[in-house]
């Protein structure tokens, strides 16, 4: 959905400009289209925010102790801090990539994008292997999805977020590949901007999910 929620610029304001189908649009049209796309992208973020808010509400509604206090299961704190740091670093490189293309520094742009994708993948592996314990021969996880509301909410929140990270990584690799073929310029790089703000949005969600899952509330033991 995210990839498709933006449109390139081929539709200028009016039929009177009937030459607008001939490939490259002129710069004012491109900028007007970018403004529309940008607004569309932010409305999409607003929409998604309600999905993630719904998950946060679920977490605080369901993770309650015997006396109604906020609780959380004991998860691997080190893993949580590491994946959070990795995602944060990837956000920095995504920003660097966008600044680079805006200044016409293509090599820097390409390298930063690859680093972002690499760190994003590292985050995914951290969650799937380390936290979920999908490969018990490597790391044994702390929770199963069936462990009451604790398993359900941890897997629900991290799963929904991981889905967005995955789509973000695919989007970044697509943009990197297009950049390698010579697409995007300092003046016209809406594709890069869309990809960048989407990636930052994924980071933004984790900024709220990390304390909600790992830090807030007193720990509660889960028998196995």
């Amino acid at each position: 959905m995210t990839v498709t929620a933006v449109e390139h610029g081929h539709e200028p304001g009016h039929a009177a400009d009937d030459h607008h189908d001939s490939g490259e649009t002129d710069l004012p049209t491109y900028l007007e289209n970018t403004r529309r796309n940008r607004l569309g992208m932010w409305l999409f973020f607003a929409s998604e925010a309600f999905l993630f808010l719904g998950l946060l509400v679920t977490r605080f509604y369901l993770w309650r102790g015997p006396h109604g206090e906020i609780v959380r299961p004991e998860l691997d704190q080190f893993a949580g801090l590491v994946v959070t740091a990795v995602l944060l670093l990837s956000s920095y490189f995504m920003n660097r990539a966008e600044v680079s293309i805006a200044n016409g520094k293509r090599t820097d742009f390409q390298i930063s994008l690859l680093l972002t994708a690499f760190l994003g993948t590292a985050f995914l592996i951290g969650v799937v292997v380390w936290e979920w314990g999908m490969f018990p021969s490597l790391v044994k996880g702390h929770l199963k999805p069936t462990d009451g509301v604790f398993g359900a909410v941890v897997f629900g929140m991290t799963g929904m977020h991981a889905l967005h990270v995955l789509s973000g990584v695919i989007l970044i690799l697509n943009v990197w590949w297009l950049g390698r073929k010579g697409h995007f310029s300092a003046e016209r790089h809406w594709g890069v901007e869309a990809c960048a703000i989407y990636w930052h949005y994924v980071d933004l969600v984790w900024i709220f999910f990390y304390p909600a899952i790992y830090l807030i509330g007193s720990t509660i033991d889960i028998p196995h």
């Binding site: 940008r38 920003n95 960048a196 930052h200 900024i207 990390y210 304390p211």
Partner: protein, 73 residues
């Protein structure tokens, strides 16, 4: 705009990214230690820290102002 001031602006933008990144990292560490240091392990403290991080990301990384400003950012 002269070549020199252009380069200066460029360096400033790069530096801005680094400063925001480092601030986010520090805030994350503060979060981590607040969570194991009563009385700072409360819902309110941790959510305020998260909100601060979110404002930094939305403002500097996502350029939310470009949605309503008419010029290119």
């Amino acid at each position: 705009m002269s070549e020199q001031s252009h380069t200066k602006r460029k360096t400033a933008i790069y530096r801005e990214g680094i400063i925001v990144g480092v601030t986010l990292a520090i805030l994350t560490l503060v979060e981590y230690y607040a969570a194991i240091t009563p009385p700072f392990d409360s819902f309110a403290v941790l959510m305020i820290l998260a909100l601060l991080k979110a404002i930094l990301v939305v403002n500097y990384f996502m350029h939310i102002r470009s949605v309503w400003s008419e010029g290119d950012h």
